[in-house]
Amino acid sequence: MIREIEIFVIGGGPAGLSAALAAASTGAHVLLCERDEEPGGQLVKQTHKFFGSEKQYAGERGIFIAKKLAEEAYQQENIEILTEATVLGIYEDGIVTVLKDGKHLKFHPRKIIVSTGAAEKFLAFPNNDLPGIYGAGAVQTLMNVSGIKPAERVVMVGAGNIGLIVSYQLLQAGVEVACVVEAAPRIGGYLVHASKLARAGVPIKTGWTVKEAYGNGKLEGVILVQLDENWAPIPGTEVDVPCDTLCLAVGLTPLSDLLFQADCHMEYVRELSGSVPVTDENLMTSVEGIYACGDVSGIEEASSAMVEGRLAGFAAAASLGYDVERASREVASARAELDELRSGPMGARIRAGLEKVNEKRGEATC
């Protein structure tokens, strides 16, 4: 049996929930598919307070934002939420297949919004597969979702916001943070997060990287090495740091497999941290009726993911004829909000990346 759906949202993180709520507010019917037990995405482990403006829940902790968005979505009569359901494919005839409770379900949506988020990047060095080497997000899940003390002594790789924030959260959980290592010559994340660590006495070593990890069956320590101005290791600067855990906070990359599979025009854009869909001003991909929003269309922050979700949700609903006048106004205001969020020096990278994407619009892919 194939079920007809108006708007099918794939992924219940900040972007997907915002898209579903926006679309449903116009009267459109939405099916939201989430592979986890509950919607919320990676907000469920974010204990820090968000920046941005009030419209993006500034000053609130991510866990609270997740709860609020999910509650709103559950209350909406015209949003149906399928949890523990993994989307497997989007086919040429528009059929979306889903794995749920061991069953293979088929849907035929009129519009699809892909908000599948991102995955953590890895780093190449000898013995990087030893137990005890985690993505920073994994350690965050262990301590903030499961309440497990994930380590005794941690070395954090990456002084972007995730590395800085997770290091501070490790201290809150009673874990020793030996140091934060950053290959770039300066700290990438916000100063406010870095200052908290500095006050707690955690050294942030810029211009350093991991040479190798060691341990017998599990991580026992890492060898760090200093880098010169060309990012080449300086011989003789190696230091041995004993630790039971190494956290990699070296960035995220879009989880864009479904978009590739749906044959959307994709481009590798370094500034957006991976392969992203080429979208129009409504966040619609090159495939008619498939939209992309949030980290899957370029790595940014949860605040912009929520606004992108809103934009895609309203645009998809308007294209089905729902509340067109208001939806169009909302689309315009979401665009303005995004411009504001991406203004200033912290948004320079994103602006450069999006410009590259825009240049590719309408180009043939092969």
């Binding site: 902790r61 137990p131 994994a138 301590m143």
Partner: protein, 102 residues
């Protein structure tokens, strides 16, 4: 080890239960994943690389990477980072790619 006191969070762990890991009883809670319960018991070596049999631990903890797969109640390649603890479940370390028995 489980976090008992946290400046921001409170943890609703559910009901305390016992399951078997490699034949040995391990305590867990019904709101925890198998990976979390094993970590609480100090077990961090989870899977093994299929060809060289190198030990592997948890990497992503959200079902993306398959670095934690084990055999659970006879089913191989179960991602224990997204599978909840159930009383009496049989969890076993897996070597090789696992065999699916219909």
């Amino acid at each position: 080890m489980r976090i008992e006191q946290h400046p921001i969070l409170q943890f609703d762990r559910g009901e305390k239960v016992t399951f078997l890991f490699n034949g040995q009883p391990v305590e867990g809670y019904t709101s925890e994943t198998i990976a979390a319960a094993l970590h609480a018991a100090g077990i961090r070596e989870l899977s093994h690389s299929p060809n060289l049999d190198r030990p592997r631990g948890l990497f992503c903890a959200i079902g993306n990477c398959s670095s934690c797969v084990m055999t659970v109640d006879g089913e191989p390649n179960v991602r224990i980072c997204i599978t909840k603890v159930r009383p009496g479940m049989i969890v076993q370390e897996q070597h090789g790619k696992g065999v699916v028995t219909p």
